[in-house]
Amino acid sequence: MLTELLTPDRIRFADDVGSWRTAITLVSEPLVTDGTITTDYVDAVTESIAAPGGTYIDLGFGFALAHARPERGVVRPGLSYLRVRPAVDLADDPAHPIDVFLLLAATGSAEHVQTMQELAMLLTDEDARTRLLEAVSPADVTSALPQIGQNA
């Protein structure tokens, strides 16, 4: 369940972060702190974005789904959210302004399948996207999540 992975302590907001690298550091912090991922995973995600074609994690509509391979430091599944104001350019590429960074710690397990199904449902829903973009508190974000159960 997304509500179990994206708990209020993993939802953050930051103003004037300046660069995508800072955004990745900030969105990673809650998961590093609670031991969901190691700092190696943060490095892997950063390397992946900086590599050629690394902006492929830009899903569109201002959302980025940052992730790397599980063997690069995922301890257990997790998800964190960071809303940056103003948007920052992913990989310093003006074609990829990002408002919401989602950091996914995936394991490739059955649980990952369910997580991705819920994320896909959530992010293809225009109303949910608007709520995630306009959120100013963790409660705003978590309240956008349960709606997917009703649409299923």
């Binding site: 992946s48 902006t55 492929y56 899903l59 991705m116 994320l119 896909a120």
Partner: protein, 96 residues
Amino acid sequence: MKILAVCSTGLGSSFMTHLNIDKALKTLGVSGVEVDHADLGSVSADSADAVFVGRDIAEAAQGLGDVVVLDSLIDQNEIQTKVAATLERHGIEVPS
């Protein structure tokens, strides 16, 4: 008919695209099309009839056959339109 969604890790973006293609097929009322996802390194030209990728790896995906480039991986309207066009290109009738 097989459609493959491809990204660099084969876990996040491609999986999301895969699920959204499934959803598009369901909405279009088309069955019997196999959909899967994979990482760029494990895919060859004969892996699938059509390969869906985000615009950033479009260049890297050259040579994989019928490559469909998506501007957004979560724009269901775009995905559905491009899935329908792909099916028609491959001779599969779209009911709706």
